[in-house]
C-alpha cells in the first residue's frame, strides 16, 4: 500500500489552539466501562482521524463530544472555556455537527424535513413565523447534488432512499451546519466509489475553510487519504496519537486492529486487507 497523495495537506497544525479539547473522558453505562480515560483534541483546519476496532469506544467518545452522552469523568473545553453540553442542541449551537453512525434520520419524513430537522429556516415575523419550505427544498436538493447524488425530489421520504443516499443526506446536512467542528462516524460505510471520493474531497474542502474534522473510519486508505493526525482507541483507551508522515500505513493498520499483528492474516489473504 502506498501513501495516497490525492489531497494537499495543510501546514503542520501543532501551533494552533484546539477548538475542542477533551481531557481524560470516561464514560460508564452502569457497570460497563465504555471509555476509560480518553484525551483528544481537534484544531481548526485539520482532519483528526479516530481509529480502532469494533467496540473500541469511538462512537461513544464522539457522542460525548456532540452532547448525546454526558461524560462520567473528564472535561470538555471549547476555545479554552469549559463546556457542559446537556443536549445535542447545545453542541450544535457551539458549531459542532455530527454524522452519527446510525445517521439520526426519520424514515417517515421527507428529505428536506430531515435535512433541516431541529434547525428549520423561517420566514415571517411573530405569529406568522413559519418554515421556509421553498428554501428548505432547494437547499436540500442542492447540497445533495454537491455530494454527487441527484435526488428524485426533496419531498421523497427518507425511508425510500437507498442506504448510501441516506448516508449522504446525513453527511450533507452535517457539512451544511458544521460551522466549526464536523464529526463523521463511519460516513463512507455504505457509499459508492464516486460518493466516497466526494466525501473525502468534502472533508478536504471544509478543512481548508478552517473547520476541524473528526473522521472515524475502519478503512486505512480513507484515513490516510485525508487524515492529518491519527488517534487509535482500543478497549476504551487511547493507544496514542500519530501525525501524518510519522507512521507507516502498515503500523497504523496494526494499531487499528487493536495492536495485534494482522500480518499473518494479510499474508493468507494475499495482501488485500
Amino acid at each position: 500500500m502506498t501513501h495516497d497523495t490525492t489531497f494537499h495537506h495543510g501546514d503542520p497544525v501543532a501551533q494552533t489552539q484546539p477548538i475542542v479539547e477533551m481531557r481524560d473522558i470516561e464514560k460508564h453505562f452502569g457497570n460497563i466501562i465504555a471509555l476509560a480515560g480518553v484525551s483528544f483534541d481537534v484544531r481548526p483546519g485539520e482532519c483528526h482521524c479516530l481509529l480502532g476496532d469494533n467496540g473500541a469506544g469511538k462512537s461513544t467518545f464522539i457522542k460525548t463530544m456532540s452532547g448525546v452522552h454526558k461524560p462520567t469523568h473528564g472535561t470538555i473545553t471549547i476555545d479554552g472555556k469549559p463546556m457542559d453540553f446537556s443536549s445535542p442542541r447545545d453542541a450544535m449551537e457551539a458549531g459542532i455537527a455530527t454524522v452519527f453512525q446510525d445517521l439520526a434520520m426519520i424514515p417517515l419524513m421527507s428529505v428536506a424535513r430531515n435535512f433541516f430537522m431541529g434547525r428549520e429556516p423561517t420566514i415571517g415575523k411573530g405569529p406568522l413565523k413559519r418554515m421556509d419550505t421553498a428554501a428548505m427544498n432547494e437547499a436540500a436538493v442542492e447540497e445533495m447534488r454537491k455530494m454527487g447524488i441527484n435526488l428524485r425530489g426533496p419531498d421523497q421520504a427518507v425511508g425510500t432512499l437507498s442506504g448510501g443516499e441516506r448516508q449522504t443526506v446525513a453527511i450533507a446536512r452535517a457539512v451544511f451546519f458544521g460551522a466549526r467542528v464536523l464529526i463523521l462516524d463511519e460516513p463512507t460505510s455504505a457509499l459508492g466509489v464516486r460518493q466516497t471520493s466526494n466525501v473525502l474531497a468534502t472533508i478536504d474542502r471544509v478543512r481548508k475553510q478552517g473547520v476541524g474534522v473528526v473522521f472515524i473510519s475502519h478503512n486505512v486508505r480513507h484515513a490516510l487519504a485525508v487524515g492529518d493526525r491519527f488517534t487509535v482507541l482500543n478497549r476504551g483507551k487511547t493507544l496514542g496519537t500519530a501525525t501524518r508522515g510519522e507512521i507507516t500505513p502498515e503500523a497504523l493498520q496494526d494499531l487499528m486492529a487493536g495492536g495485534q499483528e494482522i500480518a499473518q492474516l494479510e499474508g493468507s489473504l494475499g495482501g488485500t486487507v
Binding site: 446510525d102 418554515m131 441527484n150 425511508g159
Partner: protein, 367 residues
C-alpha cells in the same frame, strides 16, 4: 410541498393526482366522510342535511373533535393520553368549584382550569419521559386517578352529591361567557331569517339561533393545529419526536419539551371541552367525558394517525370526529337501531388501521 425551481428527475413516473393524494394521511377520513354522507343521504330522513340537522351532528362532533385534535397531535408526537376523558370530568370539577364554590369570574376561572389541566398533562409527560415507561400505562393510571378524584372532589364541593349545580347562575352576565357557551353570530342568523335565507319557525325566528361556539373552537383549533404541524419548525419537531425519539434528539430537536408540551396541550383540550360543556349544561358531574379518550383516539386513527407515531394529521382527526358525530346522530334519523353505533365504531377503526398500515408502506416504501 412546494417544489418549484427544482428540475424533475427522469427516474420519477409522473404521479397521478390519485397516487399523490393517497399519500396524504387525512385522505382516509375524507373518504369516510363522503361514504357516511352518501349512506345517510340514502337511508336517513332528509332533515338530517338541513342547516339545523347539520348543527345537530356537528355539535357532538365538535366536542369530541377538540379532544381528537389534542389526541392526534400527541399521537403524531409518539405518545398516548388515555386520561383526557377523565380530564374532562376533573377539569369540569375544577371549573365548577372555581365558579360556584369560590365565585370567581370567568377571566380567572377559565385560565385556572386550563392551568390545572396543563399541570396534570405536564406530570403525565414528565413521568413518561423520566421513566421511559409507555405512555399507555402511565396515562391509564391517570384515567382512574382523575375519574376518582372527580368523584371525591364533587362530593366534597357539593356536600355528598356527584353533581355540582349552579354554574349557569354563577357565570350569568359574565362578559367572557359568550366565547365559551351558546351560539355565535346570532344577529347574522336573525338577518338571514328576515331575508328568508334560512329556515324559520312560524313566528319568524330562525330555527337555529346561531352557530354553537364549540363548532367554531373545533374549526379554529383544527386550522391552527394543521398550520403548526405543516408550516412551523415546531410542527416538524412533533413529527420528528414521534418518528424516532433518539434520532430527533441527536439532530437537535428538544424532544422532551415537545412531548411535554403535547401532553399539556391534550390535557388543555380536555379542559376546554369541560368548560364549554359545563357552561352549556349549567352543572358538572363525575361521568363527564366517560370513554371519550377512546373515541378521541379512534377519531385520530381514522384521521390517519399511526399508533407508532410520526405520521398523521390534525385535519384528519377533524374529519374523523365529524364521522363520529354523523353516525351517532345520523342513526336517529334512520330506522336503524341506535346500537349499531358500536358495531360501526369497531368496524371503522379496523378499516382505518388496515388502511393506515397500507399507506405507511406506500410512503416509506417499506421493503
Amino acid at each position: 410541498m412546494d417544489t418549484t425551481g427544482i428540475i424533475p428527475d427522469e427516474r420519477l413516473k409522473r404521479e397521478g393526482i390519485g397516487a399523490r393524494l393517497i399519500k396524504r394521511p387525512e385522505l382516509g377520513a375524507i373518504a369516510g366522510v363522503i361514504l357516511v354522507t352518501v349512506f345517510f343521504a340514502i337511508t336517513a330522513d332528509s332533515s338530517m342535511f338541513t342547516l339545523s340537522g347539520i348543527m345537530n351532528f356537528m355539535t357532538p362532533a365538535a366536542q369530541l373533535g377538540i379532544l381528537a385534535i389534542g389526541a392526534a397531535m400527541l399521537m403524531i408526537g409518539g405518545e398516548f393520553d388515555l386520561s383526557i376523558g377523565s380530564m374532562v370530568a376533573f377539569a369540569g370539577l375544577i371549573f365548577g368549584a372555581c365558579t360556584v364554590t369560590f365565585g370567581l369570574p370567568l377571566i380567572l376561572a377559565i385560565p385556572l382550569t386550563l392551568a390545572v389541566a396543563a399541570g396534570i398533562g405536564a406530570v403525565n409527560g414528565t413521568i413518561v419521559l423520566k421513566t421511559g415507561l409507555p405512555s399507555f400505562i402511565v396515562t391509564l393510571a391517570f384515567l382512574f386517578v382523575l375519574r376518582g378524584a372527580s368523584l371525591v372532589g364533587l362530593k366534597l364541593a357539593s356536600g355528598g352529591s356527584t353533581q355540582l349545580r349552579g354554574v349557569r347562575d354563577a357565570v350569568e352576565g359574565d362578559w367572557l361567557a359568550p366565547f365559551f357557551s351558546g351560539d355565535a353570530f346570532g344577529p347574522l342568523f336573525l338577518w338571514l331569517a328576515e331575508a328568508g335565507l334560512v329556515e324559520t319557525f312560524k313566528n319568524g325566528r330562525p330555527k337555529i339561533p346561531g352557530i354553537p361556539v364549540e363548532i367554531l373552537w373545533f374549526i379554529g383549533l383544527a386550522l391552527v393545529a394543521t398550520y403548526v404541524l405543516l408550516r412551523t419548525p415546531q410542527g416538524n419537531w412533533v413529527f420528528a419526536s414521534g418518528g424516532d425519539r433518539t434520532a430527533a434528539s441527536n439532530s437537535g430537536v428538544p424532544v422532551r419539551k415537545v412531548k411535554i408540551s403535547l401532553f399539556m396541550f391534550a390535557a388543555m383540550c380536555g379542559a376546554l371541552v369541560a368548560i364549554i360543556t359545563v357552561m352549556d349544561s349549567g352543572s358538572t358531574d363525575a361521568r363527564r367525558g366517560f370513554m371519550k379518550e377512546f373515541e378521541a383516539i379512534i377519531a385520530a386513527v381514522i384521521g390517519g394517525c399511526l399508533l407508532t407515531g410520526g405520521y398523521g394529521s390534525a385535519i384528519g382527526a377533524f374529519f374523523g370526529a365529524i364521522i363520529f358525530g354523523m353516525v351517532t346522530i345520523g342513526l336517529t334519523y334512520t330506522n336503524f337501531d341506535q346500537d349499531w353505533f358500536q358495531i360501526f365504531l369497531g368496524g371503522m377503526l379496523l378499516i382505518a388501521v388496515l388502511f393506515n398500515n397500507y399507506i405507511r408502506k406506500q410512503v416509506t416504501g417499506e421493503r
